[in-house]
Each structure stands twice: as C-alpha cells, then as structure tokens.
C-alpha cells in the first residue's frame, strides 16, 4: 500500500533517507512542516544529524554551506521571503560550487504579503547558479529530493527542489518511499573535492580579478549545461532502482497528432492533466511538464514542441513590465527553428489563487484564439481592480 503522507512529511522522509550530516532550518510558511518533521525524526533518533535551528534563512543557507564545505551532506528548506533573504548566500554557494540541496516550498513574494503559493520566489533566483527542479506531486517531491543529492554531489552544484507551497506541502497523498537500502545503493556517501581539512588545507572563496572571473563564470555555465544530461541520467538511474522516473528535464504526453501544447511547472500539471481528461470534446493537446528550469533544457524543448502550432506557457509568476518569464525563455529556445509555434504566455494562480479544472478550457481557448502578443493573466478578476486600471 502507498503511504498516506503529507507532502512536507514525505519530503522530510526523503531527506532522512539521504542521511544528511547537517540540516539547517529556519521556519517560514509553508515550509515549516518540512523542518518540523525533520526535527521530529531527529528527536526520535530516526535521523542522526546535526539539526541547526538558525536565526534566519540567511544563516540557514550559510550553515548548510559551511557544513557542505566541511565535509557533510547538508540540507535546508525555505520559501518566499526566506529565499530572497538567502539570495546573496545562494549565489555564493553556487559560485563556490558547493553541493547541497534545498527545498523551496514555493510561495508568493510580498508586498502585499501573501503566504500562498506561486512561483515568484524561485523565479527570482533563477540566475543564482543553482539547478532548479520543479515537482508536480508529492511522489515527485520525494524522488526529486533524493535525486537532487546525487546530482549536487556529482556536479558540485547546489540543487533547489521546488515544491508548491500548500498545494503539495500541506496535501496528503499516497506515496511510495524507497527503502533505505535502495537509497544507499543509489546515493553513495558524501564527498566533496575541496573539503575543509586541516591536514590538507585549501583556501575557498578567494577574490578573483577581472583576468579570471569570466572563466570561472564560464566554467559554472558549462557545468550547468552538463547538468542537463546528468539530470536525465540520474532520473533514469533512480528509475532503475525504484521503478519510478520523474520526467528528466521535461516530460511530454499527449496524442501524437496534437497541434497544441501546454507547458507548465509544478503541481498545476496534474490539474491540467485532469482537465484534459474531462474535456474530451476539446482539441487534442500535449502537456509539457518542465521539470528543470535551470539548467534550461533548450534542446529537449525544441524536440518536445516540434510540430506544434500553438504552445501555451502557463506560469504562476511573471516579471512586472515583461510578462511571463518561462514563456520568454521558451521563445528564446525556439527562436530560429524552422516551424516555430505560436507561443501564448499565460499567468494563473498568483498568491494562492486556485487554478481550477476549468483552466484547461481557458488555456485551450487561448491557444486557439488570436495571438495576444502579451502575457495574459487568465484568472484576473477585473471587478477587483481599482478604477482607472485597465
């Protein structure tokens, strides 16, 4: 039987299965249940690690960084404001090429303050140099979390596992946890080539002048591109052990003759999938679940979208004054291909606004309608707008 676990609890178990040496935690809604469950596992001696209850997200990221540099598998989790407070350290971790894993329980960013789900927080950090993987279900959250440790340590790159706040973190679903043996088989003990060791001293975090800075950034960029293949390999290796894959860098499903594609990230994928199931009178459409936002799988996307006439990119965040963020990146990926589809940029579900089953119809209508040329907020309620705002 599947285990009925709340998303946060499932993630906590996945982290525990990875046997981290140090977990650093600072509470923020909706990440709290994750770190609470880990604390309880430690309290019950089901997880042996140093659990460091820090005084801020800034320190949470830093403690994880210090621990990873000092030879321990390290983990932390945050969301929203916490992620932004970490921002400086997150860039630093990536630049230092420190392998560690963090869960981002995605949430809107203030102001206005809002504790509910969207993807604005992680999107804001997309240039931090971290691998960003998005999960569509609690099962994927478990599997991706475990895979993230292997990816991070293999590539010497930090991995952010993005999980929709509340929608996944606070939702109980039946999930399958791998056994400890399976995880131990999949994930070797932690190693880091530049571990701080008084017997083999190294200097980490030097100041690099203009004559070499570009090359270090370039190397980082290259490592991220190499991660695309690694993400696929690790997912496949994990499937080899557990029988479950999470979709590599992206996953496509739908009829071969479909001319419409809908691309999304995170848990909304299930809603759209269900919507498609229930609206069989609508034209066939492919669903593209983008799992890796960073590195951005341009080649895989070109392949996945080949032959489509219209692609809707549905996002839970946008860049004010510029529109859909992922849509822009998809455009860039497809630019110059021979049969570039029309790209429709759509935004829904900001700040926890529910994306209902009926969203599918809206999305398809958008795909079938005229090009709008700009990002459309599909669930905007004009009545709620102040007078004078179009």
């Amino acid at each position: 039987m599947l285990e009925p676990l709340e998303g946060s609890q499932a993630i906590a178990h996945a982290v525990a299965l990875a046997r981290p040496g140090v977990v650093a935690a600072y509470p923020i809604t909706p990440q709290t249940h994750i770190v609470e469950h880990i604390a309880k596992l430690v309290a019950d001696n089901r997880l042996r690690c140093e659990y460091v209850s820090v005084e801020s997200e800034f320190s949470a990221a830093t403690v994880a960084l210090g621990a990873a540099a000092a030879g321990c598998r390290a983990y932390t989790a945050t969301a929203s404001q916490g992620l932004l407070l970490m921002a400086e350290v997150l860039f630093n971790i990536a630049g230092l090429r420190i392998p560690l894993v963090m869960t981002c329980a995605n949430r809107a960013v203030s102001a206005p303050i809002n504790i509910w789900n969207d993807h604005q927080d992680a999107m804001a950090l997309r240039d931090a140099g971290w691998i960003q993987l998005y999960c569509a279900s609690n099962q994927e959250a478990i599997d991706t979390t475990i895979q993230a440790f292997l990816l991070a340590e293999r590539l010497e790159l930090p991995v952010m596992v993005c999980v929709d706040g509340y929608i996944l973190t606070h939702t109980l679903e039946g999930v399958s946890l791998p056994t400890q043996e399976e995880v131990d088989h999949f994930l070797p003990p932690y190693t880091f080539a530049h571990t701080l060791d008084s017997r083999q001293p190294l200097t980490l975090g030097t100041m690099v002048a203009p004559d070499h800075f570009t090359e270090i950034r370039y190397a980082h960029d290259q490592a991220m591109y190499q991660a695309l293949a690694a993400i696929e390999e690790v997912d496949a290796a994990y499937a080899g052990i557990t029988g479950r894959a999470s979709g590599g860098v992206l996953e496509v499903d739908g009829p071969d003759d479909a001319r419409i594609g809908v691309l999304c990230l995170g848990a909304v994928h299930g809603t759209l999938w269900e919507g498609r199931e229930q609206a069989r009178n609508l034209p066939p459409a492919k669903l593209i679940k983008l799992r890796a936002l960073r590195p951005f799988p341009e080649a895989a996307l070109r392949q996945a979208l080949a032959g489509l006439s219209d692609v809707v990119v549905l996002e839970r965040a946008f860049s004010p004054g510029a529109g859909g963020i992922v849509a822009a990146e998809v455009c860039r990926a497809l630019y110059g291909t021979s049969t570039t589809p029309r790209i429709h940029s759509a935004v829904m579900g900001l700040g926890g606004r529910d994306i209902p089953l009926e969203a599918w119809q809206q999305v398809l209508a958008l795909a079938q309608g005229p090009s709008r040329g700009a990002t459309v907020i599909l669930d905007l309620i004009p009545d709620h707008l102040e007078d004078g705002i179009a």
Partner: protein, 336 residues
C-alpha cells in the same frame, strides 16, 4: 644590516621558525597593518588544526587574491554578514563527522558589530564550539573608512567627517563585549595587538573553551586612523594605557579579569598621533567638549572595569608587554 645571513636561503630559514605561520607573507595588507599582525598572532596561538571562516573585509581581500592564498590553514570566505553561521555550519559538520578540528571565525568590526551581528548572536545562542575573533579597527576600512557602530565617538571617517557642524562621529562605540557576554557566554575577551602575549593567551583560552568564545582584538589601521605606519603598536598601546581600550575577560557574563594599567595616560596621548581625531585639537568649544567627553569615557572605563584596582603580579610581563633579554633556541656552548 650586514648580510651574511640574508644571503642564505630565506625559505629554509622560514621553515625553521619556531612558531606556526598560519598566515604567510605575500599578503597585500597595507604597510603596518594591525589586522594582518593580529590574524597571524591568532593563528600562531591556535596552531594548524583549525579551520577559518572569514568575513568579507580587508583581511579576506588582502590574503586571497586568486590564485594565491596567504593562508596555510583551511580557510573559507562566503559573504560579509554570515561568518558566524558559516563557522557554525563547519562546526556542525565536524561534530557530525566526529572531527576535533577547531573552527575559528574572523570578521572585522563591521562583520561583528553591524552586519554580522545577527548571525553571531545566533551562533552563540546555539552554543557552537567556535572561537569568533573580531579584528576591531573601528570602521569599514575595506570600503574606504566609513563609520561603523564600533567607531568611537568623535572619530572622523568618510561618513562621519568633521566639519563646521560636526566633530566626527556623533554616536558612541557599541559595547559589543557586554552584549556578547550577555548570551551566557562561556568566554568573551578583548585583546590588543600591542600586548601579543596576552592576546595569544586569550586565543588559547578561547580555543580551550568548549562552546562559543569571543575575542575582540583592537587592531590599528594606519590608513583609517591616519597615523604613521610605524606607529600602529604604539597607538594600540596608548589606547590601552589611556583606558579607552580596556583589556578584559568575561565568563558567563561576569568580568573575570582586567589588565591592570601600570600608569594611566591622558587620552590626548592616544588621540594626538591619529589623524581621525585631529579636529579635536582645533581651537573650538565643540572640539574641547568632545575631548573632555573622550577623557570622561576613559575615566569611566577605568572605574567600571577596575583597571587600576588590581596590581600586576610580579613578573607579569604580559600585562606590561615588557621585554627582557631572550635567548636563541640553541643554547650556546659554555652557558651555565
């Protein structure tokens, strides 16, 4: 000097030094840098089995111009404000791995009093076994001498300049040691580069303290304090002798020692050689008032910390930083 010896292979002489060189020359600190000296003294005392977390600042910049590093111990810099947390993470990892290596955290006054304070408070509250060393040069020197909450009142910096309407910084130096000590802190102390033996003793004590320890080292900055590069030690010593820089130890919130002052000097002796206080010697009522203010602060310190209450123990050369004739490591033949 004549140089028979200098012609010898310096690197082989260097390898035979009877002290641990955690910070090598070749660092790019200014001439007469007090912080470079202090850091070397700290590591000389700690020995090689340490790992250092270092805040952004002069010390970080002048020691690690990639691809070169002046550190011989494992050392890491992350960002400005997170040093204590970085050290905490290292310490947690060592604890998890059952490694006994001591973790040190290095930061300037900005990284301690101001931007790094929150992480430091958290690190102490959680009881991490880390010795946090604050190299206190009383301003943001790395960025060009801006005031910090450690800058003494009336000192001129680029963001607290003296002018017709201002006599330098308008606010008091934050009493960070008291704040740190209030964390039920096992060990918090102040030291000065002018008293290296005392400094090294305090490092040792800090390292031996199980749990968090804090050491603030008054470290002159010739550039920021505007004194001759040769005068750093002298100025630091005057700081102590005037009472403006009390050298104390606090354990669990209680003061457990104070370096007794052999003779108390007027604060002007300390202020005069420093350009940052030059405006206080103008013929101006405001300047006179601030001078008197600084003297009053020194007097207050002397009373508050009991700097004249205890007498130095005989032979207490640490407190006096006095010297006596030394010997070379190898005793010459024929010596009694």
């Amino acid at each position: 000097m004549n140089n028979t010896a200098a012609l010898r292979d310096m690197s082989s002489i260097r390898q035979q030094q009877s002290r641990f060189e955690g910070l090598t020359p070749g660092h790019r600190a200014c001439q007469g840098c007090g912080q470079a000296l202090a850091a070397r003294l700290v590591l000389e005392s700690s020995g090689p089995d340490v790992v250092v977390a270092n805040a952004t600042g002069c010390l970080e910049v002048f020691t690690t111009a990639w691809p070169q590093s002046a550190w011989t111990i494992p050392w890491m810099h992350s960002v400005f404000s997170n040093t204590a947390a970085l050290a905490a993470g290292m310490e947690a990892a060592f604890k998890a791995r059952d490694i006994s290596t001591k973790v040190l955290a290095f930061a300037g006054d900005g990284g301690t009093f101001d931007i790094g304070f929150q992480a430091l408070s958290g690190m102490i509250e959680r009881g991490h076994n880390v010795l946090f060393v604050c190299y206190d040069n009383e301003a943001y020197m790395n960025t060009g001498v801006q005031r910090s909450s450690s800058t003494p009142v009336a000192a001129a910096t680029t963001t607290s300049p003296a002018g017709i309407a201002r006599t330098g910084k308008r606010h008091l130096k934050k009493d960070i040691v008291a704040i740190i000590a209030a964390h039920c802190m096992p060990y918090a102390a102040t030291a000065s580069v002018a008293y290296p033996n005392d400094l090294k003793d305090k490092v040792r004590r800090g390292i031996q303290t199980p749990g968090p320890a804090f050491l603030m080292i008054h470290s002159p900055c010739p550039l920021g304090w505007m004194h001759d590069s040769a005068k750093g030690i002298e100025v630091a010593r005057l700081g102590v002798e005037t009472g403006l820089v009390p050298l104390i130890e606090m354990e669990y919130g209680q003061q457990t020692s104070a370096m007794p002052l052999r003779r108390v000097r007027p604060v002007v002796d300390y202020l005069k050689p420093q350009g940052r206080f030059r405006h206080l010697f103008a013929d101006d009522p405001m300047a006179r008032q601030e001078l008197a203010h600084l003297q009053a602060l020194a007097d207050h310190n002397i009373a508050h910390y009991g700097l004249q209450e205890s007498q130095p123990e005989s032979g207490d050369s640490h407190a006096a930083a006095s010297v006596r004739r030394g010997t070379v490591a190898v005793v010459p033949p024929g010596a009694v």
